[in-house]
């Protein structure tokens, strides 16, 4: 008797859960179009990836490439002129024991390349001087003349959110996680190294993004 009641309870719970899932799942699942994986788009991907690498080497010369993300954002429900936007992101971390000097050096590198932002890194430096911890600084976004977008995120070894700060899937202008084509996330060892070096006072996650393909709506 008890066994059959339990079985019934389990069955009912499963049915309700199934109904919940069925009722709330959108009928049109997000699926990347075939063109996004075609030869033409792949050639663009390689070209734009090389350009992103080149810029990253210039703005983070002493830091090796630590992560990359290539994917497409689904814009179909946006009613804009495009259905998909595919973006390549390459990232490295720049660290320093003197936060002001680290920010100024980064500012000079970006400024020399003609990149600009609002607010820029010197505004960030002012916020640091007001006593704000690096982990609470807002991301900055630089536009560069070669049509690259540079996103900088701030963290520090003691930041409990360090792992999510190096996650390229949650960058505001990145491709997101919905339709990833390829990815090289920051390794656990790299994250551990960032955490363990307590002499470091500021960590900047410097990410270069280049959009290489957009699928028009018509």
């Amino acid at each position: 008797m008890r066994r059959s009641v339990r079985a019934m309870a389990g069955l009912l719970a499963a049915l309700v859960a199934l109904a919940l899932v069925a009722a709330c799942t959108p009928t049109a699942r997000s699926e990347l179009p075939r063109e996004a994986r075609g030869a033409e788009v792949h050639a663009k991907r390689l070209k734009e990836g090389a350009l992103a690498d080149e810029l990253l080497r210039k703005i983070a010369p002493s830091a090796p490439l630590q992560g990359s993300l290539d994917g497409c954002l689904d814009l179909r429900s946006n009613h804009a002129g495009y259905l998909w936007r595919c973006t390549m992101v390459r990232a490295a971390t720049v660290t320093g024991d003197d936060p002001a000097a680290t920010l100024e050096a980064q500012h000079r590198l970006l400024r020399d390349l003609g990149c600009s932002a609002y607010p820029g890194l010197l505004t960030t430096e002012e916020r640091l001087k007001q006593g704000l911890q690096p982990r609470f600084l807002f991301d900055v976004e630089y536009r560069c003349p070669d049509e690259s977008l540079v996103m900088i995120r701030f963290t520090e070894p003691e930041d409990p959110d360090l792992s999510s700060k190096v996650d390229l899937g949650n960058l505001q202008r990145g491709p997101g996680r919905g339709n990833v084509i390829s990815e090289q996330p920051f390794s656990a060892a790299a994250i551990e190294q960032l955490r363990s070096d307590t002499s470091v006072k500021l960590i900047m996650v410097v990410a270069v993004a280049r959009t290489y393909w957009m699928m028009p709506a018509t």
Binding site: A9, L20, N78, G81, S116, Y118, G120, R143
Partner: protein, 229 residues
């Protein structure tokens, strides 16, 4: 430990089902009665909104004129849940967007300011003020007068103008976010889209081919219908 009796098991079963059903009900709340956007009274209200927004866009882009334009006509559903209950079930908006290509930032600022004054907007000088204080607001970055100033970094402007909302955003042919700005200017996630004519790929390609000037996106938006609940 004693095993629960059949009555207790039934109670648990009931409670589980109740929780799951209420979860189902709250997560997928029923949509309001659908609005027919082609209903005669809605159509009658749409016409004047189209004319008013087109006129406002012309004022905002004078004397250069809009090279490309886009329109979005859509309706948003009011909230109706245990926390919020809007007195309206739908609100419909007509948005007219245009792009003017202006020789430089000074001319672009003058165009926007005089347009906002002509439309009797609340804060027509906010853009000019922001640019005049740029050095203090954004230390170390290029000034608006510098040749390498990138118009795309100027934050978007929003003003209210006697029932019309005006949104302005600067960009340029080399702005990596040009397409994003165009989508911000003309796109919608509203559940009821009456008509969407966003900026096309061809229009954006033409803008990308421009090698000079400031690309100014202007969107004027007006609510033309409110459906009482």
């Amino acid at each position: 430990m004693p095993r629960p009796g059949p009555r207790r098991a039934l109670c648990r079963l009931g409670a589980t089902a109740l929780v799951l059903l209420s979860l189902l009900a709250t997560s997928c709340s029923a949509p309001p009665v659908p609005l027919d956007p082609q209903r005669s009274d809605v159509v009658a209200e749409r016409g004047p909104a189209r004319i008013a927004t087109a006129g406002a866009l012309a004022s905002m882009t004078r004397p250069y004129g809009a090279e490309s334009s886009a329109t979005i006509d859509s309706c948003a559903a009011g909230e109706d849940n245990w926390k919020v209950r809007d007195p309206w079930s739908y609100r419909c908006w007509f948005a007219y967007s245009g792009v003017a290509v202006v020789p430089d930032l000074t001319a672009a600022t003058a165009m926007v300011t005089s347009g906002l004054i002509a439309l009797d907007c609340e804060d027509p000088h906010q853009l000019a003020q922001q640019l005049s204080q740029w050095g203090e607001l954004n230390p170390g970055e290029p000034l608006p007068t510098d040749p390498d100033f990138q118009p795309g970094v100027v934050p978007p402007q929003l003003d209210q103008c006697r029932g019309i909302e005006v949104w302005v955003r600067f960009s340029s042919a080399t702005d990596p976010l040009l397409a994003v700005v165009a989508a911000d200017a003309a796109s919608t996630r509203d559940p009821l889209v009456v008509r969407a004519n966003p900026f096309s790929d061809a229009q954006l390609q033409r803008l990308r081919a421009r090698d000079d000037g400031v690309i100014v996106f202007v969107t004027v938006r007006m609510m033309y219908h409110q459906e009482p609940r």
